[in-house]
Amino acid sequence: MNAAKYHGHHVWRRFRRQQLWRQLKANKTAFVSALILLTLGLLALLTPWISPFDPTDMQQQNIMDAELPPFWQLGNDSRFLLGTDGLGRDLLSSILYGLKNSLWVGFWAVILQFILGTSLGLCAGYFGGWADRLIMSLADFQLTFSSLMLAILVLAITRAAMGAHDYHIWSPWLLVLVLGLADWPQYARTLRASVLAEKHKDYIAAAQVLGYQSRHIMVFHILPNTLSPLLVIATWQIAHVILAEAALSFLNIGMPYANPSLGGLMGAGFEYMLSGVWWIALLPGLALLILLLSINLVADWLRDALDPKNLGQRP
């Protein structure tokens, strides 16, 4: 077995010793938030099966069902628990699908950001010299642009170029790409700072003296010790990306209306607010709020929980 595989074996044991579960139970806020998040995640995953209607299916919509209120208000229809929107789509189903889309975009965008930012940050910090200068210049360049403006620009152009139909198919991936590429500098800079600090510690010198290659040292020695702030950033970034996607959809530049998203629903429902049809904008907004809040609280907890001093505590 080679050293890399042994490291792999070790990760799981180390993770168990971190005793994250015990720490989670000890912190009430985090525990509740994590439960909520888990529930939302499950709902999102099981949406195709548990959703009462399919909001992307034109056949199921009937314009006569439009603007029906939720179940606790007068004039509701028992088929639509949370009411319907302007096109007659069930709001509950739309919210569930919107949740699914939001989490999907959030997840993949963050994966992209994470991989890109981590590899670049690691190289910049460890190798220094011209690699460092190049990568940091790129990061600075990227940071000068507001990611939202850039996203709007790119998406608008693509949409005009592709046409509505193609855009409908590709938009989730485009969103992932645009939002993913927008925020990698955060990871890179944070990681670079941590790497610079770790690099001078004796155990890295010991690893070099033992003859390990740079790649091995970076991935198995430096990265595990600098990962915690990145995980916290990543978790927090899921919320950020979801919010960005919601904002873009609100402005009708993100997910097309036919593919429901929480932001899109809010955007479309905004006009109806003044005429008393409040549920189209507010209920998705509430769902979004709960989602973002629980993610942020879990991210907060994670930051404290990942302290290496917690390794190996006796239960």
Binding site: N2, A3, A205, A206, V209, L210, P224, K309
Partner: protein
């Protein structure tokens, strides 16, 4: 130089660094040459270590010990000069050529805590080098070897699953030594292995190092400022100041008849439990940073015996007795008493 063949030879080594913080004020002296901002860490160092011996290099912080250790281990490359191991040059080698020497030369670091990866258990830290260099071993085999090594350095195998922050200082240092031994080296460089440890643990580690040397025929290069430990452990002692060796001799000669004023001052300053420090002399001032273009002996500002030549010419090492070299203009006419009263430095 010595009858047994040399394992490591260092000749005319030079290394300088860019001084930090100077760059902030570049606008004050935009035309200054880069030399003014450089610190000469190693300044023409010559050293020779024979197989099986323990050479202790004594010096205070700022003398360049850590730089010398990094250069010997290949973590940095010298500006000038030459390091050879068993006759073959190792300074300036690229990474892949250096590999074969990596296993033969290992290092034990000063702070046992930062020298261990905080996220690896003791067992993992020992198994990793073994599996890295011998991937054909299976896991259980590697674990058995690591456990055997732990026993050899005196660590209870029950501690193998612990993390560094759960071990005491002495235990951590033992793990460091065990890790260095996993690749079966011939030569070990120890950079202040005792200074982060308590006195009674120092005794344990000293005994361990002596035992291992005997069992495995190791050669040691130990950097330390703990003169009592050095007197106990060394075969030969080299005294280092500002990037140069100012005196090198056998243990008896250094401790009984130190010739260089710096050696004498160091010996006088080290704490003794029974002898009262009545004529406790102090070398006034601190170790300054040497710049590359500085002339003369490094000790000129602090040495009471300094005269004209000391300010202009860097002293060369002279063999005043067999195998006893001193770099001082006063040699071989130095006072042979061990207790020299050093004058306090005259303040400007």
């Amino acid at each position: 130089m010595s009858s047994t063949p040399a394992l490591l030879e260092i000749s005319n080594l030079h290394k300088s660094y860019q001084a930090p913080n100077q760059a902030h004020h570049w606008w004050r002296n935009p035309l200054s040459t880069s030399d003014a901002n450089r610190i000469q860490a190693i300044n023409g160092l010559n050293l020779c270590i024979s197989i099986g011996e323990t050479l202790c290099v004594v010096g205070e912080s700022g003398c360049g010990k850590s730089t010398l250790a990094s250069l010997v281990m290949g973590l940095e490359q010298p500006d000038q000069g030459h390091i050879s191991y068993q006759g073959k040059t190792i300074s300036g080698l690229k990474h892949k050529h250096r590999q074969e020497y990596r296993q033969r030369m290992q290092m034990v670091f000063q702070d046992p805590y930062t020298a261990l990866n905080p996220r690896l258990t003791v067992l993992h830290a020992l198994v990793e080098p073994l599996l890295y260099h011998q991937p054909q071993l299976n896991r259980q085999n590697a674990i058995d070897q690591a456990m055997a090594q732990l026993l050899e350095v005196g660590i209870d195998p029950a501690l193998a699953q612990r993390f560094p922050h759960q071990l005491s200082g002495g235990q951590r240092q033992r793990v460091n030594i065990a890790r260095a031994l996993m690749v079966q080296p011939e030569f070990i460089v120890a950079d202040e292995p005792l200074s982060a440890l308590d006195v009674s643990i120092q005794a344990q580690i000293l005994n361990l190092l002596a035992e291992l040397q005997q069992q495995q025929q190791l050669t040691y290069l130990i950097f330390s400022h703990n003169l009592a430990a050095v007197e106990h452990m060394a075969d030969r002692v080299a005294v280092m100041y500002e990037g140069q060796i100012c005196e090198i001799a056998s243990r008896e000669q250094i401790f009984n008849q130190p010739q260089h004023p710096y050696t004498q001052a160091l010996l006088a300053a080290s704490p003794q439990i029974y002898t009262a420090p009545n004529n406790r002399q102090k070398l006034v001032g601190d170790v300054p940073n040497r710049i590359p273009t500085q002339q003369g002996c490094s000790l000129q500002d602090r040495c009471p015996k300094a005269f004209e030549t000391c300010r202009h010419q860097t002293p060369k090492a002279k063999e005043i007795k067999p195998k006893h070299w001193v770099a001082c203009h006063l040699a071989p006419n130095l006072i042979t008493q061990t207790q020299v009263i050093l004058e306090p430095r005259k303040l400007p």
